[in-house]
Amino acid sequence: MKHTLSVLVSNRSGVLARVASLFSRRGFNIESIAVGVTEDPAVSRMTITVIADKATLEQITKQLHKLIDVIKVSDITADERVDRELALIRVSADSSNRSDILQIVDIFRAKIVDVAEKSIIVEVTGDESKIDAFVQLVRPYGLMEIARTGKVSMVRGSK
């Protein structure tokens, strides 16, 4: 099953390497990882998506906790939350199909951020499934390049 972990870490050099090294050494798989600083500049948040059974997830959580630089690990899979990911997608497009693509872009409330003679770059924001769906729809036009940020999440409601 897919789990989303929200991990607060000390904002120190090497902390991403420690987390990545832990996952590879213990044989855990990271599906995606996104890192950025929080409201406190001394603390960063990692949003980690993993596919794991219950026992493995328990180990992942406990092993993460053992890292001195890890302050808090929360499994927010079951929580009401907002998931967002941003993707930049280069699609091959010329005068013959540009308007078709624009329609899809419109439906997904995506944005064209660059236009060239034979291609465009689209910016899509949403949860993973929305981005996956968009990618699938524009694939027939010629998918040239994708860059995805990985998912960031936040639990809904007042804290």
Partner: protein, 558 residues
């Protein structure tokens, strides 16, 4: 006061009550050695950095205080790696200082540069690269705190040369600020109550204790608990000495080369109380069939150990001693006559024994003699392999911190430098390294260290001219194809010892064993006793790897 980083390091060591460091100098640590030159801290010059790490480890295991080692950048630092991995696997508080090239040269493949914090990330509890002298005192304070609290472990501090040379105001912090590090010492009261209830309801309980009992100083509490509720105790390799081998409730060691009765008791028990142990594969064999009839209680200070390898029913995160001390008042005295009678029956069926041999001295006999001559009071270190397992089986340990061995990593070459460290920390005790001819040669150069510092360490080599344990596996599982396990060109160990300025004694017959050991133990300096033992003796009983521990091979040793 304003001072350079190297002096700050030494002042911090003094503040942490460190009176000895094990090390080896080099370019990047020159500033540190310059300060050590006339500092109030004893420096033991080893002959290979690996030995510095093992000696610091042996010192820590013998004294309970953190061991400190120093090496230069690059190869000096990488030579510490095996020692740090050894300390990490057995949860030993070791602080390693490594030199590093100056910060402006980091990442440019400079002379003697190695990314030692990157390399040691998975084999240290934590590590630091200190890029500014201002951070040094705080880092050292944190390092000692991390290494010695919670589940102990090694911490490495990498010091670029300009950090050691740079100057700043020195103030040793009085506290640490580590929001991500707060070990739990007190067990959850509800869980402890649950365990008390399980003990009261159990008719076939077993205590399975590991190294955590020694590090938390829980031996007395363990004995009280075992006697109060008449619970037999089996120990892991690292916990030998945590419970006296001669005690009527002692089952000895369990696992691959554990006693038959310990393994059968674990197999049949209805309550397994694991304390400070981590269910290593050499202990449990097949995880699915381990303690199949038991409710499993697991007490450990490291939450990640609970449920890592086997299922659990009563998890208790906490310090072994603290948990046991809050458990005991909740218990009433119990007797388990039927259970103990069953165990006595197993003790008769599976006696820990060996046979005298035609083809040479039985190695087990040598251990028995050492045990008898020292009355179980020596500090025993071992190398790894048959020497280690026979020692675990036949030396009658009485006290914690008497047995020092690389259990988790299984590091050959550990025993001798660890004995040196133990002897430095405990000059009052007789320290003996029980070695194999293979392992001893992995750090034989440390004879120079023992001689230089007049450390009266005794090395007893069970010399069978083989890498004995590997040969045993080849005999049992590879059709006696002794691939690369015969040591055809061993040196004359007596002559080597003498060449270094130590004493050497050769033993070739059983009659010579006891007098030779008596002579060696009476010597004021280091001695190597080379005992030519039967070449193909085996360690039994044995549980084949990944098998249920109740399925033991009895072998031909009884």
């Amino acid at each position: 006061m304003r001072m350079c980083g190297a002096r700050i390091l030494v002042e911090c060591l003094k503040a942490e009550h460190v009176d000895v460091v094990f090390g080896y100098p080099g370019g990047a640590v020159l500033p540190i050695y310059d300060v050590l030159y006339d500092a109030d801290i004893r420096h033991i010059l080893v002959r290979h950095e690996q030995a510095a790490a093992h000696a610091a480890d042996g010192y820590a295991r013998a004294t309970g205080r953190p061991g400190v080692c120093i090496a230069t950048s690059g190869p000096g630092a990488t030579n510490l790696v095996t020692g740090l991995a050894t300390a990490y696997m057995d949860s030993v508080p070791v602080i390693a200082f490594t030199g590093q090239v100056a910060t402006n040269w980091i990442g440019r493949d400079s002379f003697q540069e190695a990314d030692i914090t990157g390399i040691t990330m998975p084999i240290t509890k934590h590590n630091y690269l200190v890029k500014s002298t201002e951070d040094l005192a705080r880092v050292i304070k944190e390092a000692f705190h991390i290494a010695t609290t919670g589940r102990p472990g090694p911490v490495l501090i990498d010091l670029p040369k300009d950090t050691s040379l740079g100057e700043c105001e020195f103030v040793y912090p009085t506290s640490v600020d580590l929001p991500g590090y707060r070990p739990t010492y007190e067990g959850h009261p509800k869980q402890i109550k649950e365990l008390a209830k399980a003990i009261a309801e159990s008719s076939r309980p077993v205590l399975y204790v590991g190294g955590g009992v020694i590090w938390s100083g829980a031996s007395e509490a363990l004995k009280t608990l075992a006697e109060l509720c008449e619970i037999p105790v089996t120990t892991t390799l690292t916990a030998l000495g945590a419970f006296p081998t001669g005690h009527r409730l002692s089952l000895g060691m369990l696992g691959m080369h554990g006693t038959g009765y310990a393994n059968l008791a674990v197999n049949e028990c209805d309550l397994l109380i694991a304390v400070g142990a981590r269910f290593d594969d050499r202990v449990i064999g097949d995880p699915a069939t381990f303690a199949p009839k038991a409710k499993v209680a697991h007490v450990d200070i490291d939450p990640a150990e609970i449920g890592k390898n086997v299922r659990y029913d009563i998890p208790i995160v906490g310090d072994a001693r603290t948990v046991l001390e809050s458990l005991i008042p909740q218990l009433s005295p119990m007797k388990h006559p039927d259970w103990l009678a069953q165990i006595s029956e197993w003790k008769k069926q599976w006696p820990l024994t060996y046979r005298r041999r035609q083809d040479g001295i039985a190695p087990q006999y040598v251990i028995e003699q050492i045990s008898d001559l020292t009355d179980g009071e020596a500090i025993i270190t071992t190398e790894v392999g048959q020497n280690q397992m026979w020692t675990a089986q036949f030396y009658k340990f009485k006290k914690p911190r008497s047995f020092i061995s690389s259990a988790g990593l299984g590091t050959m070459g550990f025993g001798f430098p660890a004995a040196i460290g133990a002897q430095v920390g405990r000059p009052d005790r007789l320290v003996i390294d029980i070695a194999g001819d293979g392992s001893f040669q992995m750090n034989i150069q440390e004879l120079a260290t023992a001689v230089q510092y007049k450390l009266p360490v005794k090395v007893v080599i069970l010399d069978n001219g083989y890498l004995g344990m590997v040969r045993q596996w080849q005999e049992m599982f590879h059709g006696r194809r002794y691939s690369a396990t015969a040591l055809e060109h061993n040196p004359d160990f007596v002559a080597v010892a003498e060449a270094y300025g130590a004493k050497g004694i050769l033993v070739q017959t059983e009659e010579e064993v006891r007098p030779a050991l008596e002579r060696a133990f009476a010597e004021p300096g280091p001695v190597v006793v080379d005992v030519k033992v039967a070449r193909e003796a085996n360690v039994f009983p044995m549980v084949p790897p990944n098998s249920p521990i109740s399925k033991m091979i009895r072998g031909d040793e009884s």
